[in-house]
């Protein structure tokens, strides 16, 4: 038996820990159905002197926040996040296609 799946969009934000509540507020504002957030570690090898996020202290911690929703909602969240925080904060924004089993949840 093959299960029926439905296509949705997954927005992934990797950002400074300090931004967590603000990113969640942006997602809620644009009608995201929910979110998952967890702490991650990582760094950058860029030559522009970008900070290595070593996880030490609140300003050194990093989160990954995922939202599964319709593509227009994901794009609206992504645009506002980049407009509001892209200039001065460490933020990575990615969109990917995912398949879900219960479309009413998203």
């Amino acid at each position: 038996m093959t299960a029926t799946t439905h296509r949705r969009c997954q927005l992934t934000l990797i950002a400074e820990y300090m931004l967590e509540s603000r990113l969640i507020a942006v997602a809620a504002h644009h009608g995201a159905p929910g979110y998952t957030v967890h702490e991650v570690r990582g760094g950058s090898f860029a030559a522009d002197g970008e900070r290595f996020r070593d996880g030490a202290g609140e300003t050194g911690r990093t989160i990954e926040l995922k939202v599964i929703c319709d593509r227009p909602v994901a794009e609206a969240i992504a645009r506002q996040v980049l407009d509001d925080f892209g200039g001065n904060f460490s933020v990575r924004v990615m969109l990917s296609d995912v398949e879900v089993f219960r479309p009413a949840k998203y």
Binding site: E16, M18, E39, A56, T59, R61, F89
Partner: protein
């Protein structure tokens, strides 16, 4: 030798030697919650034996001092250290606020040497945490920064909630109510502070690279500021507020210390264009070790002349 300082040094060396030693984040978080609550509770219990009218003049003084320090150091940071205005405001806020761990180390240092200190010092610690950050935000706004409003976060940050909450609970329960908590919040305090210092050493060791980038002027600022603020604090504590020599030393330590937990978090949001590495590196990698290794013993010796 003080075991607290040796553990801090071990952490620094381990990190510089690239050891894989690291504390899991929840452990670090739990240790800091414990320390803040323990300091608050013990301060509150001691305060329950105290006449509140004695506390008011020094309480007002530390709010004023905490608020004034950023305005005093901002021009130095901007003109002498040559930071832009946003960076200068952000670093200034770190120096207006206080370091709870420096306070705990100074308390332990004086206790070991039998120097009596007023019982309300932890109240002064709690009161001095926020005004410097508020002053830093005002300086940043005057310099044109357009960050988020952080007043709510500043006033309900975990440091203030735990310290102030602990003090209020300590006052309410008194010595009798504290007795069942004493094994955890009293007897274990020094050992848990030692663990925290090992972790702090690891963090400071990891900041060595930031120091190279910060430059000699900021390093000089991180040493001279606590030296000067400590002297001023000693004078104000002793001659203006009329504290005992031990109390004046603790006030001097509060003025000399710089925040590396509450201030970096608040200033990151209030002044997003400022480089967050500058304030935290100066406060944690320069001023904190300078206070622990040099300034606290120096203030202790100077306090003996008062």
């Amino acid at each position: 030798m003080d075991p607290l300082i040796l553990l801090f040094a071990l952490g620094v060396i381990a990190r510089l030697a690239r050891s894989d030693l690291r504390f899991p984040e929840p452990v670090y978080e739990a240790l800091s919650i414990y320390l803040l609550l323990a300091i608050g509770l013990k301060g509150g219990v001691e305060l329950s034996h105290q006449d509140f009218s004695d506390v008011l003049p020094p309480a007002l003084a530390v709010v004023f001092l905490g608020f004034s320090i950023p305005f005093a150091v901002f021009p130095v940071l901007h003109r002498v250290v040559r930071l832009n205005k946003a960076d200068a405001a952000s670093v200034a806020a770190h120096y207006g606020s206080v370091s709870v761990v420096t306070f705990a180390i100074a308390s332990a240092y004086l206790e070991r040497r039998g120097v009596p200190v007023e019982s309300f010092m932890s109240v002064l610690l709690a009161l001095m945490e926020a005004p410097g950050i508020v002053a830093g935000v005002i300086l940043a706004r005057n310099a044109g920064a357009k960050g988020a409003s952080v007043m709510h976060e500043v006033l309900v940050n975990k440091g203030i909630v735990l310290l102030a909450g602990g003090i209020v609970i300590g006052v309410l329960i008194g010595s009798e109510g504290f007795a069942p908590l004493k094994p955890l919040f009293g007897d274990l305090f020094r050992g848990i502070l030692a663990l925290y210092l090992l972790e702090l050493g690891l963090v400071v060791g990891g900041r060595a690279g930031d120091l190279r980038r910060a430059g000699l002027r900021l390093i000089g600022f991180g040493i001279l500021t606590p030296l000067i603020m400590g002297m001023i604090g000693l004078g104000i504590g002793s001659w203006i507020i009329g504290l005992t020599p031990g109390g004046a030393i603790m006030l001097a330590v509060l003025m000399a210390s710089a925040s590396y937990i509450a201030a970096p978090a608040a200033m990151r949001m209030a002044v997003p264009e400022a480089n967050p590495a500058l304030g935290i590196s100066a406060a944690l990698a320069v001023t904190f070790p300078f206070n622990v290794f040099v300034n606290i013993p120096l203030l202790h010796h100077m306090g003996a002349w008062l």
